[in-house]
Assembly symmetry: D4
Homo-oligomer: 163 residues x 8
């Protein structure tokens, strides 16, 4: 019950940190590494082929521009791979990151989340674990309640301020 | 260990059938239903709130145009929700379906696959179950091997035809 | 003769305030609330099913990203629903907000205005009331005259400055 | 309580017919005309300035390409104007039609519906009348019920066919 | 031999000033005015119907967002109309301005220049006059020579700096 | 008083024929040629440098894909150049053709018309000649009247068919 | 002096055949293979690491959708890699193929050609060889002459047909 | 064994400097010049026709907006031409630059790199020379190793910081 979080460059860390933080909040173990599909292809192969043998249950992979990391990990690993399109400095408004991750061919899915949506990637990883782990499922249920509470409080503030 | 497949309209069935077929091939139980976010909102609420109580582990939701079904199911269910953007007749080249499903706000992820990528949605659902079920994980490993074999055979045909 | 203005998050308020302001200028009653399609789905159902029973005539709903609020309100309420695509921080240049609100399926319209066009949403709400209320119609006619006057004055300034 | 439906060209009629049909189904009076912003500008001015004086409550305007008709009608009429972007033969996948109608400046709203969404334009016109007319509101409520019933029946067929 | 420059709002003036400046540099008479298609439709009709009777040879019209001004002027005036898409604050990266001006239907052309390309609109207006006026044609020829000279000088600077 | 119509390939002729036809209808002389910016660059240079010396008043240039012909002609000729973006088979929905022609740098305008808008290019060429030729101006005025008549007749047919 | 042509699937062959044909016309040796980045990752690694050791000078790689093949080959091979974006059936109008190939990060270039531009990929491969091989350079010069001749002949036909 | 780097304007120099720098790092001779397709067409013709006669092996051409320089050079030179789309101030988010360079017609390839990807253009030029020059090939191999080392070091830093 461990989630591996990999990214193509340390410049992706500010975005990917949100996945790390929410998983820690959910008390799920994470490991974090930089694996560049284009600069460290051997490490990519090694990581992807072995993650499921090392006790990893879910992989989160973030990358920007022509973002090949999530799809390449998914091509080699049998685990569910969550892709985070990062709006990096070399990206065209994020469209390249999104399409490079989302539009995978038949047979090799990547579970894509919103542009810069690393927080949601972390929550989705927890939900995947929760699909067969009732303690984690309860954590998700409680988390959703907390979202509701925050919105209700904001609603009160807005209604008060309009009077 | 059951996957629920819902779609917004029976016109989505030809696309979504690919998810049903691959899951049956993997010998994973599926239930199929039509739940329209916009036309049967009460059924949407009922389905989303109760799926995890009925033994469903993963939900696949497909819809086109302003595709709200996957995100609305995800707003109420603690289960992992896989969204399939369908290029329906009322869609603008699929962009509306993709963006309506992918760009969910923080807190409510939808695991989005490629446009019309229902087959990949089915495989991803199996991978999610396989994350904690070694028999299903083995099925995925074998499936990936079969993809490789098909490509190797096609490569032979192409090389032969070029000589 | 009251307009309900709802939004998905208090971060939408700076944009949506323009709808509130113009309706107050037109002396039309407004109520303002936060209703998140994704975080408070029960409140969404309750609000949408009952607005027309509480004397609301028109609903304005603003949201960004995968913006499901206007369409989901429209799925349950028989009232005219005006959707404001908000260019929120998690939006891809506003395209996701626009397409998620505009591209509703047959049977469930949302009256969509321009990106961040909350002011126009307020005017449209007034026009809807004015369609059967001659006092409000007169207000609209006068408002249009005032727009013309402002442009004529600006034209004079520009012409003078060019001489 | 009459709806005027205008379009830029008779080539828009096949799309716009859906607005006519649904309004007739709702027993709401319609008048239909061709008004080209670019080819009959005098007729445009005359129509727009006088519609509200002739007992029209709502205007539906459809056009394609650089679609100026809905916005130009809205610039002169105090009535609510619903714009239908038509994917005409000279349109770039509909983007030009949508943006020309949707992105109106502050002060002059057009209630835009989906690409080719003339049926929804008709329903929205009925909802606008229903905002202050309880008989029409009841028609809308009943119509929404009929949508639900059709989806429920389709759901039964799909579930049966999967067994 | 006079060019009329009109724009939809005084907020377009900083962009449109470039057209004024280049025409003054070419010693061609200009008149400048604000004509809003959406806020002063009567002025629009009056201006468009009469420009060619007042000795205007070419019209330059700039506008942003759902930019109807150039096309509406072209619908009524027999003169060549040059459209300048302005990237105004309410524009979606300029796409709406461009498509609303460029995609005119058969019969009603607008000579569209680049986004914010008011300088080129001024040059084009001079070229149109130069098509039948050899003195102005000579001015254009000389202007093109001056562009070449500036590039040649910049090339020298760059080559020197690289040594 | 002659218009030169050039295109990058004979596959552009079906689109460009509309410019030829409307100019013949207006009794304006045309010459037609194929000049490929990419395949016959010397002919491009020769044509562009000399057109205004041979009595040509206006140039219409059509091309598709990375459409450099209109801009390259404009870089060398002092005459007004009208660009027609052609949706050729190697074009991405026409976007490449449009942007390659429209987005010219400061100093070198191309008067761009709609995608495949060769008819409008012909009309614009006539308007440019008409700017200083009252007989041609009268032709344009009459042409615009004929457009109006056709729309009025179509309006009658539509109104009759709805009764 | 050999060019390797690889593609992700045999469904890409009809497009990629144009690269094979033009290189054969230029009498340059080619080898053709299917290498799927997502289905045969080991073959991808083996091919990319060894191509330059086997006497390959240039690699052409074609793929569609989330097209990772060209970039992944380029990540491992020191040879120039030409990428052909293929508009496959699972592509969104080709945008995904183009952006996945073009937008490579700093350090790992892919020489991208037009959508479905396999013929140009073949010519570019020949030009790369011709950069240091004068016989091949002469072939390119002759080829460019032949393009010119074909356009000149088409120009004659068009001019004749217009008389 | 020399690379020519040309650009349309000195405003492109900050981007294009990256190509100069990496080639100098690789100890490959460069010459740098400004050649504007639109402002110095004669220089363009002269440069393109003669580069291969002056010992140039590869040409890198950068330009923004309607970027015709790379394609026009490629139309006249038999050498491989690398195009760098520059996101200049007059560009629409870079789309115009990319499409104007990438979408060349059959027969005239431009090796296009990422938006602002001048560094990759330099590396690609080196790879083209390395295709037939083993010393340069070795430089490329070593460069790729250095990329790997940098990523491995960054990975260590990230892993350490997470503990």
């Amino acid at each position: 019950m461990k989630v591996a979080i990999v990214m193509g460059s340390d410049s992706d860390l500010p975005v990917m940190q949100q996945a790390i933080d929410i998983l820690k909040e959910f008390e799920i173990d994470v490991e974090v590494d930089i694996v560049s599909a284009h600069r460290t292809p051997e490490k990519l192969v090694d990581f992807s082929n072995n993650a499921h043998k090392r006790g990893i249950s879910v992989i989160i992979a973030g990358a920007g521009g022509a973002a090949h990391l999530p799809g390449m990990v998914a091509s080699m690993s049998p685990l569910p791979v969550i892709g985070v399109p990062v709006k990096s400095s070399n990206s065209i408004d994020g469209w390249d990151s999104i399409l490079s991750i989302l539009q995978m061919p038949g047979g090799v899915p990547v579970a894509t989340v919103a542009l810069n949506g690393a927080k949601n990637a972390g929550i989705l990883a927890a939900q995947i674990i929760g699909a067969t782990n009732s303690a984690v499922l309860d954590t998700i249920v409680a988390y959703k309640e907390s979202l509701k509470t925050k919105v209700m409080e904001a609603a009160e503030r807005v209604k008060t301020s309009q009077q």
